[in-house]
Each structure stands twice: as C-alpha cells, then as structure tokens.
C-alpha cells in the first residue's frame, strides 16, 4: 500500500474507533507503546487505554483537517502528523488539536502505534 494511503487508512480507523468505542484502541498499542497526552507520559497498551477511557467526556467526535506522513527509516516505520478538531458533547466550541503517531510494522503485516503524542492547540 502507498504510504499516504496507509496513513489515511490508519487515521480513519484510529479516530473512528476513538469516537465509537475507545476501549477498542487497545489492539493498536503494545507493551512498549508510549503516549504523551497533554504532557502526561503513559506507557503500555493497558495503561494507555485506561487513560483514554477515563478522559472526562463520554462522547466526542474528531474531524481531521490535515494528515502528513513520512517513512521513518529502514525498520519500516511510518510517522503520521494530524491536525483537526475535537467536538465534545454539550460544548459549543470544538477544541483544536495536533497529534503525531509513529507506526511500526507487526510480523502479521499490519502496524501498531509505538509513539503517540497529543496536544490541544490553544488560540
């Protein structure tokens, strides 16, 4: 698959899962995965999913504005850089955010998230 197509497919899958069933994100992370969420560092699939499922909102919707990607090196990794909006239920204004993912290939031929960094973009 073409890298840009792969990045787009991953981004769609990630945010669709986030918005519909956050616990379903678990199989995108492994033991060595790292998430930095608004400056807080979390490691490992279980801890990452615990953080994401305990965020202070039940429902949300991500709308993606930009997706950039680049291959990261000989190990076959892929860097994905996303910006967009996050609409929380009951909030009038959407939050703007940026997020980067470093995807690494799995032996089964798919990808998992090794590095994940999320930041809100304040005005």
């Amino acid at each position: 698959m073409d890298p840009d197509q792969l990045a787009k497919a991953f981004v769609e899958h990630y945010y669709t899962t986030f918005d519909a069933n956050r616990a379903g994100l678990a199989n995108l992370y492994q033991e060595g995965s790292m998430l930095t969420f608004e400056g807080q560092k979390i490691q490992g699939s279980q801890n990452i999913v615990a953080k994401l499922t305990s965020l202070p909102f039940q429902q949300c919707q991500h709308s993606i504005s930009t997706v950039d990607c680049q291959p990261s090196g000989p190990a076959g990794g892929m860097l994905v850089f996303v910006s967009g909006n996050l609409q929380l239920a009951g909030e009038q204004h959407a939050l703007k955010f940026s997020q980067m993912f470093h995807l690494m290939p799995t032996p089964q031929g798919s990808f998992y998230v090794l590095n994940d960094i999320f930041r809100l973009n304040y005005a």
């Binding site: 090196g73 940026s98 470093h102």
Partner: protein, 124 residues
C-alpha cells in the same frame, strides 16, 4: 534513559530554532541526504532541497516562541520530538501558531540529525 531523551530534545529544540531565527542557512548541518521535510503539505527530500526551501520562505527575519516540547524514545535509538509554539514575523501584528514534529536519529559522530521533519501552521 527518559531524562536523557528529554535533555537531548530540549537542547535540540533550542538549537534548531535559534539557528532558524539567527542563521537559517546553518540549518543544513542538521539534515542528511535522506532527510525529509513536509512543510505545509509540500514534501522535500535531501539537505540541499530542504535548505533551499527554508532559505526561500517569504520572510527574512522571524522569531519562534516555543510553548510546548514533548519527546519520546523511538525505535533504533531515535527520538521523536513534538513542538508547538508561535512564529513572529516582523511588521505582522499577530503571531502565527504552529506545530512541528522531528524524528532525530543518531549520527556516526555521536550527535543527532533530523531524519524526518513535519511543519504545520495551526489556523484559528
């Protein structure tokens, strides 16, 4: 290991934006032939091409103000760095907000170079 990654990232970010704001042509020292830059969606590969792109940006002077720096160790002893901040151009009243990510890879000389660089303005 964690502290080392943070120390390296902070030092890199300071160095990178200081060069950018004061001596933009010297940024070429941070890139290698395999380096990639995506600047506002435009993909550029290689030291010369990246240097040319940054040199030809439509402003002579600028000043970056960094708000956040996040970093994590990555595969093969690399480091990913995620920066947000604002970019001040002379005579422009309002700063431009931006986000930028770097993938730093160890160089044979014992320092790091930028293998991947992605820059995006954050519009209001």
């Amino acid at each position: 290991m964690e502290e080392q990654v943070e120390v390296v990232s902070k030092a890199f970010v300071e160095h990178y934006y200081s060069l950018f704001d004061n001596d933009r042509s010297s940024l070429s020292s941070l890139y290698h032939p395999t380096s990639m830059l995506t600047f506002e969606g435009q993909k550029i590969v290689g030291v010369d091409e990246i240097s040319a792109k940054l040199r030809d940006l439509p402003f002579d002077k600028c000043q970056h103000h960094i708000s956040t720096v996040d970093s994590q160790p990555s595969s093969s002893a690399g480091i990913v760095v995620f920066v947000s901040g604002s970019l001040q151009l002379p005579e422009e009243e309002h700063h431009l907000r931006f986000s930028q990510m770097f993938h730093l890879v160890p160089s044979p000389a014992g320092s790091f170079f930028v293998q991947n660089d992605i820059f995006r303005l954050n519009y209001g």
